[in-house]
């Protein structure tokens, strides 16, 4: 199959898969909302001048005691829930994409080198990957942030990257091991292509497809991880909006029946992650040659 035909087949499968379309639509809505956050939110929830304690713990607008313009109610500081959710999703997406780009680039580079050169580099990388994997990204990131606490968003991104890059390195290395035995790589080698040319021109493009699935899955995982860390109080600082922290605050009021402080940020988080996972599922089925497809 030529490259163009593969692309057009993928496009048509994408357009005919309702869940893949739904996932992308959700993702686009979230991206738009967070990009336009200052324009569409009724309040900047982290501008202290705009907050009044008089409007604290207001229920959603349609309930008794609701107050305009707080569509989804307010929290214990008088912050508009809807605005905080949109700003919180912004943090989620910044951390998510930041980690995927940084950890992905680093992991792919290491995996490429380990798979191609082998020997001690391969042994060390894969042993390291095994160890990191068994400790798990969540535990490592939690411990790192628990020990070196009180950083900003950048520190959170870096801590998750340190725990997360092995996921990419491992997949990339496996893929490179397969690709480097292919006839076209041998042919390129025989024509006298150097290591750099072989790696970047021949091996990288052909070994990278499995990474796309990892990127999509990882984006969802990292967004949930950031929320979890912030919920536990070791994630982004209290001066930054975060869905996890909103839910942690809401937890204090769960017996007081202030359900909107948990249900709306929780719902937004799940909606965002479901959107990414729907897309990732489609990508995985599409790129897995082992599964029999119907039709």
């Amino acid at each position: 199959m030529t490259e163009r035909r593969i692309k057009s087949r993928m496009l048509s499968s994408f357009l005919h898969d309702p869940s893949a379309l739904l996932g992308s639509v959700i993702l686009v809505i979230f991206l738009m909302a967070t990009l336009l956050a200052p324009l569409i939110t009724p309040q900047d929830p982290y501008d202290l001048k705009k907050l009044t304690l008089e409007s604290f713990l207001k229920p959603p607008l349609w309930m008794e005691g609701g107050q305009a313009p707080f569509l989804l109610g307010t929290d214990d500081q008088g912050r508009d829930i809807l605005s905080t959710i949109i700003y919180g999703c912004r943090t989620s997406l910044i951390v998510g994409f930041g980690v995927v780009v940084l950890a992905g680039t680093f992991g792919v580079a290491i995996g490429l080198l380990a798979g191609y050169y082998g020997k001690w580099l391969d042994t060390v990388t894969m042993r390291l990957a095994d160890t990191f994997f068994s400790f798990s990204t969540t535990l490592l990131a939690f411990l790192l942030l628990g020990i070196f606490k009180h950083g900003g968003i950048l520190v959170v991104i870096l801590a998750i990257c340190i725990a997360d890059w092995v996921r990419y390195a491992r997949t990339m290395r496996g893929s490179v091991l397969q690709v480097k035995e292919e006839a076209y790589v041998m042919a390129a080698k025989a024509t006298g292509a150097g290591d750099l040319r072989l790696l970047l021109r021949h091996i990288l493009p052909n070994a990278i497809p499995p990474i796309f699935v990892i990127v999509a899955v990882d984006l969802a995982v990292v967004i949930m991880l950031e929320a979890t860390l912030s919920f536990l109080g070791v994630g982004v600082p209290v001066t930054e909006p975060s869905l996890g922290m909103m839910i942690a605050i809401g937890k204090n009021y769960v017996y007081a029946g202030k359900w909107w402080m948990i249900v709306f940020p929780g719902g937004a988080l799940v909606f965002l992650v479901v959107g990414i996972n729907l897309f990732a599922d489609w990508l995985r089925e599409e790129l897995n040659p082992k599964i029999e497809r119907r039709g």
Partner: protein, 321 residues
């Protein structure tokens, strides 16, 4: 085989030493242990005394050697906050975490693998699609949210299950169990379901993916063709082959279980090791943090080494030379 086992054991020791080095650096260089131990208002003489007694005036490599020696003997120093030795403090919490984690893993395995098999048999039926949609929800809801939603529904709205602590417990020797009282079991239900939730959806998906690949194999077609009853084909021929990687992956992901037990214990104020760790992190109680990390690493690495060696023995396809 013997070489493989030996190499695997040496690796385990190297990793443990690396972890101990990191822990030593955390203890020694993150904050001043002298002030933590002697107190903020200690005089110069008192500080010198502490420095001398704890060997903090010796060269770094001697201190590290001492740290490893003490750790190997279970001596990690005293908690800065409660002033009791850190290891017993953590071990006292171990039964609570162990009971919670074991129940959660059992729930996740029975429900997750069961549903996974069910779905793989009729992948395009309405029921399977519903289960898969639910599992997508399952992997998209973070554990802490599951926990809070369960509390909201079962403790606040319906009010039938407790959401706080372990309830009545019985002391059996050194082991304090909550499994022998009705109250204890009631307290266990919500946390165990919460902790099971993250693994359940993953197990379901792993089982389903594995079954779909195995069911297309020639030997399964042979098994059907020679007229074996479906129960035998599915459980004896297909599922057994799927379970090897599934069990291996869950065994290797023990760190994940520990991480989510921290989250679960925090939500339910479950008096386990994870809850203690988070409190210690808030209070900068380095001896307890370091002890937890060393203990967790020891368990994770031991388990990993065992799983790897068992896998090499059980799976004849792999030959390590």
């Amino acid at each position: 085989m013997a070489t493989y086992v030996a190499r695997r054991l040496i690796q385990a020791v190297v990793v443990l030493l690396a972890v101990s080095l990191i822990c030593f650096c955390i203890f020694r260089y993150l904050g001043d242990p002298v002030i933590s131990m002697a107190g903020l208002y200690a005089t110069f003489q008192e500080r010198e005394e502490v420095r001398r007694v704890f060997g903090l005036d010796k060269p770094t490599y001697v201190q590290y050697g001492l740290f490893v020696w003490n750790a190997a003997h279970g001596n990690f120093g005293k908690s800065f906050v409660s002033r009791v030795p850190a290891l017993p403090l953590i071990l006292e919490r171990f039964p609570a975490t162990f009971e919670l984690a074991t129940c959660a893993v059992c729930i996740a395995f029975v429900v997750g693998v069961g549903l996974g098999v069910l779905v793989s048999l009729r992948p395009y039926s309405a029921k399977s699609r519903l289960i898969m949609a639910a599992s997508l929800g399952g992997i998209s809801i973070p554990t802490f949210l599951t926990g809070i939603l369960l509390i909201m529904v079962f403790s606040v709205m319906v009010g039938i299950l407790p959401s706080y602590g372990r309830g009545n417990t019985i002391q059996l020797g050194f082991w304090r169990t909550g499994l022998l009282t009705l109250d204890g079991i009631k307290h266990l239900i919500l946390p165990a379901c919460t902790l099971a939730s993250y693994q359940l959806a993953v197990l379901l998906r792993l089982t389903r993916a594995g079954m779909r690949e195995v069911l297309a194999e020639e030997y399964i077609k042979t098994a059907w063709a020679k007229g074996l009853p479906p129960r035998k084909v599915i459980f004896k021929h297909a599922l057994r082959n799927v379970m090897i990687p599934v069990v291996t992956i869950t065994g290797l992901q023990f760190g994940e279980l520990l991480a989510f037990s921290i989250v679960t214990e925090t939500i339910y104020q479950w008096p386990g090791m994870g809850n203690l760790l988070l409190t210690s992190i808030y209070e900068n109680d380095q001896p307890v943090i370091v002890t937890y990390i060393m203990l967790a690493s020891l368990i994770i690495i031991t388990l990993n080494t065992i799983v790897d060696i068992l896998y090499a023995i059980l799976n004849p396809k792999i030959r390590y030379d």
